[in-house]
Symmetry: C2
Subunit: 319 residues, 2 copies
């Protein structure tokens, strides 16, 4: 069996499909050649096969039928091939070994499973797709594979991931982004959602949550409205203030989490959209915590490459 | 000037208008004769005058043009006659003295102002309408007028009101009910809202918030989804679990509030819709706190009566 020098990474979530044609140099490093996009698991009117082929078949003429790695909701119960949630702690090698393989239209496809972990109070958490960012982050620096690290993946659902000695140990999900959208678009707190970001209002919201008494999130939210009523907050500043309030609350929960001790962790690595990552970084740094922002696409593709190298290696062994 | 033996109380909020024809016995006690309903401040296509007249003019034939007391958003900037928010601490007498009076179509109308208070972090809170329930609660028992008491008004926005020696000292608003509606109807956490209440799931949600580490609300919310994914919670139980989670969080915030010390307060008085009041009572009692549930309409009308007696008394003095 020949070692492929190209593969296709597919990040296939609920609302979007993102496909990346990647090239691997002999030293194992990765270059993104080109990309395409399609509709997510719950959005596409086409079959999963047709949706995928629309995105990747244009690359066939030049490259042939490349190996395809897929992650995200495509591996869930509402996806194409259901994969189990693998329990943490887990190493990248164990994750790669558990991929579900099938053939479609002449393509060798591997679906990367999601992860689960057990938290306090007999409560479970789970992720599908974000694990690739962690695998990639582990490749970013040798020091990431030793010791205890906290990685923050802000988004619709923020994931806080504890990595220990190269393994994903556990993680916690916060509904930050989804709550922001719900409240900004549908509540009485904000009459008109502003698209302009206001740094001062954001800082004020974050400071309010971080400096308030314990457990006051439900009470603090009303300040979005009362501050407008009492002339402390402009209507066009309310959205940014709300964002600060929610991110402040998310970070406060992470600071109080019993699963890790943030004061004993060197830095928090943040992998997310640039503006959101800067917001999280700013609030964390205001609490005297060091942060590092990592590029989301590059890190995710490093993760896919890590799985690709492992499965490729396994294939070579079994060949 | 003659002392009226009847008056009309109008609770006029954003979505609903509720008018009550009340009769006063010579000893000052109140009987509800009949009621009518109309559309709220932001809902009615008619003018405020026409909306009100539709509700109360049928009573004119028998009773003439009775005095009308109004409270709620009708006194706000989007209402009919804007009244200021009066700062706490405030006594019922001071509140009654600050009513805004006007004449409409031969009716003497008094609008009862809302209240504001200043909390930690230069944050204000406000209410319009709920203050009548507190005024009424003060009339329920003589002991309510002495010492420190906490009154909980659950609803779209829960109000926690600290009463001290017969005055409304301060209060805090939590977005509990509104968040419940947003999350139950619009989030990924709940696929299908269940109308059946499940006590066990509710208790489980409340226990989860109350026993979790500090500040974990944003993280805890995701358990609504993960518990369904991992078979710990039925789809038809998720709505009740979410309700428990939110009410637990609201109560936890009240227990941690620095403005009062719940362990030093005899009992929490709850004034709200029956089912919701029982939910709050159950969770508070699970935390070894005593509660008392008061009937919402009867208590509100007692509050209107207290204002009516004061303004009537003032009128008699000035006559």
């Amino acid at each position: 069996m020949q070692t492929a020098s190209h593969f296709i990474a597919v990040d296939w979530g609920t609302t979007r499909l993102r496909a990346f044609l990647c090239s691997i140099k002999p030293d194992g490093s990765l270059t993104l050649v080109t990309r395409s996009a399609g509709l997510g698991v719950s959005k596409s009117p086409l079959s999963f096969e047709d949706t995928l082929m629309q995105c990747i078949s244009p690359w066939e003429f030049e490259h042939g039928k490349l190996p395809v790695l897929m992650s995200g909701q495509i591996g869930s119960s509402i996806g194409w091939k259901e994969t189990a949630y693998l329990p943490c702690p887990i190493s990248p090698q164990e994750l790669a070994k558990s991929c579900v393989h099938f053939n479609c239209n002449g393509y060798d496809i591997s679906v990367i499973p999601g992860l689960s972990c057990q938290l306090e109070n007999d409560n479970y958490d789970c992720m599908r797709g974000e694990e690739l960012q962690i695998l990639g982050w582990l490749q970013l620096a040798e020091e990431n594979q030793k010791g205890r690290h906290l990685v923050c993946l802000p988004g619709t659902h923020t994931k806080w991931v504890l990595v220990e000695d190269g393994k994903i140990k556990l993680f916690k999900t916060a509904l930050t982004g989804e709550l922001f959208d719900l409240i900004a678009n549908h509540s009485v707190l904000i009459q008109e959602k502003s698209k302009l970001f206001n740094q001062e209002a954001f800082d004020c919201g974050a400071a309010f949550t971080l400096n308030s008494e314990m457990g006051s999130f439900m009470h603090g939210l009303f300040s979005v409205r009362s501050r407008q009523l009492f002339g402390q907050l402009g209507k066009d500043e309310a959205t940014s203030y709300l964002s600060g309030l929610l991110i402040g609350s998310d970070i406060r929960a992470a600071m109080n989490a019993t699963e890790w001790d943030l004061t004993k962790i060197d830095k928090v690595s943040i992998i997310g959209a640039p503006h959101l990552s800067r917001c999280f970084s700013r609030v964390l740094e205001s609490q005297s915590l060091k942060t590092e922002i990592c590029k989301v696409t590059a890190t995710t593709l490093l993760g896919f490459n890590s799985v690709f190298q492992s499965t490729n290696h396994l294939n070579k062994q079994s060949a």
